[in-house]
């Protein structure tokens, strides 16, 4: 038993901490929040140069083939920001889906470019009937000469506004099974529109008779894609662990500094209780996440742990922010202060890769409460 980070992970943690402190100060994050168009020009080059775009990709495809725990350690630090951008979508989620589902030729064509940061992938899965279980997908591709034309409307797509390539879930030639289709985000007929509001990094993607080549189709991909999504779920969870940590630190500092009624508010038991709830959510998120990562990295059956981790961390991040707002009161909702960056992110990521409700539903099967 050893719950500490190994030497490699320490190095990853240190360099990620430096990056978040240096390049992603509060002013920068606030600027990127106001103007998401600056995210790529500000963050992508340094992230690629640090090799982060290739960490989750095997060496044979141009990456460094790090363990999922290694990758998670990086994402925990990015979550502290919270640092926005498509690193998870492209270099972890889509890379893993391609690895699990695509042909050799597709892997060779796409993965090295993802690893080098030259291409940025995003997964366009969800539609009006919003869910992450592959139901209700209406997007379709029809045969057109040697290739296909793809049409449909995707909504609440994470990171599409930063992407050069979209992996679009669609039904091809009327097949019941879901396929994935790679689409150039600049291709004619593709319209990506960022969604405004209390939301971070989500877009609508309209596909109107977009021409795609046959070798851009990963046919009948849903099974492997679902496996890939579950395997990288704890990496996303680790991002939320870091976020919870940052929200806790911020609230602790505030409770120790803010004076009311002639004393620091941290002396009031009611305020202490908020922080205790917060640290309990943080640690629940942390240990369920890293147990799942350990199981994945050691080749064990990790399904139940992945479902538990996602269910716990999505709730934890949202609740952590709620408690932080109880501690901070007025200053907490001032955008300049920075807490609302997390609050918004905690809501925006709650459903990503499936909301807690979906993962709890899946646990029913894993625990043998229902057949199948």
């Amino acid at each position: 038993m050893d719950l500490s980070l190994n030497d490699t992970q320490q190095l990853i943690q240190d360099s990620a901490k430096d990056f978040v402190r240096g390049a992603c100060g509060r002013d920068v994050l606030l600027k990127l929040d106001r103007d998401p168009a600056l995210v790529m020009s500000t963050l992508w080059k340094p992230m690629s140069e640090l090799g982060w775009t290739g960490m989750a990709i095997p060496e044979q495809y141009g990456g460094t083939g790090n363990s999922l725990t290694d990758v998670a350690v990086l994402f925990e630090e990015l979550g502290c920001g919270p640092v926005p951008g498509p690193l998870f979508s492209s270099a972890v989620l889509c890379a893993r889906i391609v690895l699990e589902a695509a042909s050799d030729a597709q892997k060779k064509a796409w993965l090295p470019k993802i690893a080098g940061g030259e291409r940025v992938f995003a997964l366009a899965l969800t539609e009006q009937h919003y869910n992450w279980s592959g139901n209700g997908i209406r997007s379709y591709a029809k045969r057109d000469g040697s290739g296909y034309t793809l049409s449909g409307t995707k909504v609440f797509v994470h990171d599409a506004l930063y992407a050069t390539d979209l992996l679009v879930a669609a039904r091809v030639d009327g097949a019941a099974q879901i396929s994935l289709v790679r689409v150039d985000a600049k291709a004619a007929g593709v319209a990506v529109r960022a969604l405004d509001g209390f939301i971070n990094g989500l877009s609508e993607v309209v596909l109107n008779n977009v021409k795609v080549a046959a070798d851009d189709v990963i046919a009948n991909a849903w099974g492997p894609a679902e496996r890939a999504m579950l395997a990288v779920t704890p990496v996303l969870c680790a991002y939320k662990v870091g976020s919870c940590k940052a929200v806790f630190d911020m609230s602790l500092t505030y409770a120790r500094d803010r004076t009311q009624f002639g004393q620091i508010i941290g002396r009031f038991a009611r305020v202490q209780d908020h922080l205790i709830h917060l640290v309990n959510y943080l640690d629940s998120a942390r240990w369920t996440t890293y147990e799942a990562l350990w199981k994945l990295d050691s080749g064990m059956d990790a399904a139940s742990s992945c479902h538990v981790a996602k269910s716990v961390t999505s709730e934890s991040y949202m609740r952590a922010c709620d408690y932080a707002h109880e501690v901070h009161a007025g200053i907490g909702v001032s955008r300049e202060y920075g807490l609302t960056l997390h609050t918004k992110m905690s809501r925006s990521l709650y459903h990503c890769l499936g909301a807690p409700k979906l993962h709890r539903k899946k646990l029913e099967s894993v625990l043998g409460l229902v057949a199948g």
């Binding site: 050893d2 500490s4 602790l252 941290g266 202490q272 538990v308 269910s311 709890r360 029913e364 229902v370």
Partner: protein
């Protein structure tokens, strides 16, 4: 990271050795009861025999130093021993004993060489059973407000007072306690830590009628008692850590009691309950109801988090790492999630979890016992509110300085 308790060939060999030895020393006459109150004197003695056999090998308190009868075992091997005992429905120690679990680490930190040589080997070898006596009628959460006095008289302390909610069924050989040695002294500076032989004249033990005891399964204590001291003369050299220094001494065993070590034995009733929900009777299972399934999954997630906190604390304490709020956090979590899980069971399965009737009760009444035990568990080792207070101090929420956790080794 590695969350596995058994992770090397060497440890696999140790598990085999441990399992073989435990099988050898556990007689076929051992019986398990859902409620430790139902444990007969004969069954208690069987557990003491098992304890002595383990003690002879240094395996009763395996993380204690060898020179005092412990095993000096690694965190992994200690966990394996716990695991192997749990597998056959026992715990380590296999009976209630506050001597090794909390008394011994305290003596190790605060005792003189003479104390260590005199007190530790009988405890570690399972030759004596020890109670801890802390609460009093007027001192629960406010432990420093105790009234029991121990006044120096020549080579003795004369003890007068009353302790409550203490001990177990079937008596003890000795008890350690916190007593007032300076009735006029300043609060926290008037207390001492004293080991009292229980066969001294003037000690009366009266069982209390409680809902349950709130201890962990497997080593449950049966009953709790009121203990009365009437001019009990205790040898002065049984005082550990110095006169009027008892509050500092107490921080060590309170650290253990507040969950600093992490209990690896999970609450078996939870797994049992999930299995009960899957059982088909007349073609129908509780889990066939979708609402029930949703609650069962929530209950499972709750118990997984508690298990992971215990594992983390076990790793922190057995690898001697700095700890702060984690002991109290685990204790708070175990208490509250136990209560929550108990309630969920009632919602899911109704009166089935409330009966210990021989015909109807699942798993011989173990779940009915869990119902009572999880409510009782809210107070032993400090209430949920006290755990929150300790967490707040350790996290430094209310002040500039973060309070440090007490030393365990």
């Amino acid at each position: 990271m590695n969350f596995a308790i058994e992770d090397s060939a060497e440890q696999g060999t140790f598990r085999k050795e441990a399992r073989a030895f435990i099988e050898e020393i556990v007689p076929s006459t051992l019986e398990h009861m859902a409620d430790p109150v139902d444990m007969s004197y004969e069954q208690y003695q069987i557990r003491r025999d098992i304890g002595r056999a383990l003690g002879e090998r240094g395996w009763l308190y395996p993380s204690m130093p060898k020179e005092y009868g412990g095993g000096d075992l690694s965190a992994e091997n200690v966990a394996i021993l716990h695991d192997e005992m749990t597998r056959i429905g026992l715990a380590l120690p296999p009976y209630y004993d506050a001597g090794g679990r909390m008394g011994a680490p305290t003596i190790l930190v605060w005792g003189t060489d003479e104390h260590k040589k005199r007190f530790l080997p009988p405890i570690c070898k399972g030759l004596v059973r020890t109670w801890q006596l802390l609460s009093e009628p007027g001192a629960g959460s406010d432990l420093a407000g105790i009234k029991t006095t121990a006044i120096r008289d020549g080579n003795h302390y004369v003890v007068n007072g009353q302790k409550m909610y203490v001990g177990s069924s079937h008596g003890a050989d000795q008890s350690w306690t916190i007593v007032v040695t300076d009735p006029k002294g300043e609060r926290h500076k008037n207390l001492s830590w004293l080991m009292i032989p229980m066969d001294l004249p003037g000690i009366t033990v009266t069982p209390m009628d409680l809902l349950a005891t709130g201890g962990e399964g497997g080593s449950g204590c049966g009953v709790k008692n009121a203990v009365f001291f009437d001019n009990v003369r205790v040898p002065a050299d049984n005082l550990v850590g110095g006169e009027n220094n008892g509050w500092k001494v107490a921080t060590t065993h309170l650290e253990v009691e507040h969950g600093g070590m992490g209990r690896l034995a999970d609450r078996r009733a939870i797994t049992d309950f999930i299995n009960v929900c899957k059982e088909k009777h007349d073609g129908w299972a509780i889990a066939d109801d979708p609402d029930a399934r949703e609650e069962i999954v929530n209950l499972y997630i709750e118990s997984e988090i508690t298990k992971l906190f215990a594992l983390r604390n076990h790793w922190l304490s057995h690898t001697n790492q700095p700890r702060s709020y984690e002991g109290s956090q685990y204790s708070l979590r175990r208490k509250l999630s136990g209560l929550d899980i108990g309630e969920k069971m009632v919602r899911i399965a109704g009166p089935l979890v409330l009966t210990k009737d021989k015909r109807w009760a699942p798993v011989n009444g173990a779940i009915e016992y869990f119902q009572r035990d999880s409510i009782t568990a809210l107070h032993p080792g400090a209430t949920t509110d006290i755990q929150r207070v300790i967490m707040a101090r350790r996290l430094g929420i209310g002040g500039r300085e973060k309070e440090k956790a007490a030393n365990l080794r």
